[in-house]
Symmetry: C2
Subunit: 193 residues, 2 copies
DNA sequence: AACCAGTCAGTTAGTATTCACTTACTTTGT
DNA sequence: ACAAAGTAAGTGAATACTAACTGACTGGTT
C-alpha cells in the first residue's frame, strides 16, 4: 500500500483540520477548501472520507514502527532506548502536530471499525517496542522486577499519553520535548532498581 | 444549578449513546427515540444539544468533587486515600459506564468551548485531590521526594487514564476494579520510598 | 362544587442547512 | 492521443432546531 504524493498532501491537510478544530471540523467541503480544489476532486484520490483517515493511520503506524525499530538497533541500552523512543515521539509530534489526533481519537469516535482498528494498531506497535525494552532492562537488572513488564509499560505509556494530552489541551503552548523528557526521566527513575 | 429528575434521565441516556456508539451517534433523533418521545420534547428540558452535554459534565464534576472530598476526611492516611480515591472511581464508572465519555472526549472534540471547559474542569478536580494526597504523603515521608508532587500525580493520573481507556476499548470485558487496583497499587509502590 | 388561568410535557409537521458522495464534462501534461 | 486531475451542479439523507397545537394537571376565586 504505497501512498502517492498528492494523497499524502490530502492526508496532512485532513490531520491539520482535526488537530486544529476537532473531528467534527473534518468535512469534505473544508478539506477540499484547504486543498484549494473542489470536493469532487477528493474522490479522484480516495474512494471515501473513511479511506483518507484509514490511510493516514496506516501510514502513521508504519512510520512509527520503522522509527522505533531503528532505535532498537542504535540504542542497545534499554534505559537509553526508552528515552530515545519517547524523544523521537516528541520530536515527531512537534514537527507534525497534525497527527496528534491519532493518539486521542480512540474511545470516543468509533465512527467506523476501520478507523478504530487503525488507531488501536498504532497503540499496539508502540506498546510492543516499549515492552521489549522494558523486558530487556529487567533481564539485565536495570529495571525493577517487583512488577511485571506489562505493568511498568502501562505506567510509562500512561505518563506519555497524559503528557501529550496536556500539551494538546494547552494549545501546544509549552516545550513538549523538554517537559516530556523530564516526565519520562522521572518515570524511568522510579522503575530503576 | 439544580438538575431535575427528567433532565437527569436525558443526561444518562445521552451518556449511554456516546459510550455505546461514539459521539457521532448522539443525535437529537436517537436521543429522543431512547427517551421514548419526540425530538421536540427534548427542547422542553434543554435549550440545546450542547446544554445537555454541558449540564452532564457539570453534574459529573460536582459529583466527583463531593466524593473525593468525603474520602479525604474518612482516609487520613495519604496512601490509603489515593487507593480509595481510585477505587471510588472504578466503582463509579463500573456502575455508570455512560459517563466514561467524559474522560476521553477531550482533545478530539472541541465541538464547543462549553464542552471542552466542562471536561477540563473534571480533570482539574481530580488532579487537585490527588495532588493534595501526594503532597501530604511527601510531607509525612511515605512518598519519595525525589520528584515533585506534580510529576508523581501525573504518573498516577496517566496510569489511571490509560487503564480506563483500555477497559473501554476492550468493550469493558474485564474487571476494571481488580486490574485497576493492581495498577494503582504498583504505581503507589514505585513512588513509596 | 365549578370554573378559570396557567404550566408542564408532550405531539405533528415542518424549516434551513450541512453532509458525503455522484455524474457528466473539461483541462492539463506527456 | 490519452490518462490523470480537475470542475459545475447536482443528489438524497441526515442534522439541530422551531412553530403551532393539545391534553393533563394545579391552584385560586367565586
Amino acid at each position: 500500500m504505497d501512498i502517492k504524493p498528492r494523497q499524502l498532501e490530502i492526508i496532512e491537510a485532513a490531520g491539520q483540520l482535526v488537530t486544529e478544530a476537532g473531528f467534527a471540523a473534518l468535512t469534505t467541503k473544508r478539506l477540499a477548501e484547504r486543498m484549494h480544489f473542489t470536493e469532487a476532486a477528493l474522490y479522484r484520490h480516495f474512494a471515501s472520507k473513511e479511506e483518507i483517515l484509514v490511510t493516514m493511520l496506516h501510514h502513521l503506524a508504519a512510520n512509527i514502527d520503522e522509527r522505533l525499530a531503528a532505535l532498537a538497533e542504535t540504542h542497545p541500552d534499554p534505559k537509553e532506548r526508552v528515552r530515545a523512543m519517547f524523544d523521537s515521539q516528541f520530536t515527531y509530534f512537534q514537527k507534525n502536530p497534525q497527527y496528534l489526533m491519532a493518539i486521542f481519537a480512540t474511545g470516543v469516535l468509533e465512527a467506523s471499525h476501520g478507523i478504530d482498528a487503525g488507531i488501536e494498531r498504532i497503540m499496539v506497535v508502540k506498546r510492543r517496542h516499549l515492552l521489549n525494552a522494558i523486558k530487556e532492562g529487567q533481564r539485565s537488572g536495570v529495571f525493577t522486577s517487583d512488577h511485571s513488564a506489562e505493568t511498568l509499560s502501562h505506567i510509562i505509556m500512561g505518563t506519555f499519553r497524559l503528557h501529550m494530552l496536556q500539551w494538546r489541551m494547552s494549545g501546544r503552548s509549552f516545550d513538549v520535548r523538554k517537559k516530556g523528557r523530564a516526565l519520562i526521566g522521572a518515570a524511568l527513575d522510579l522503575i530503576t532498581r
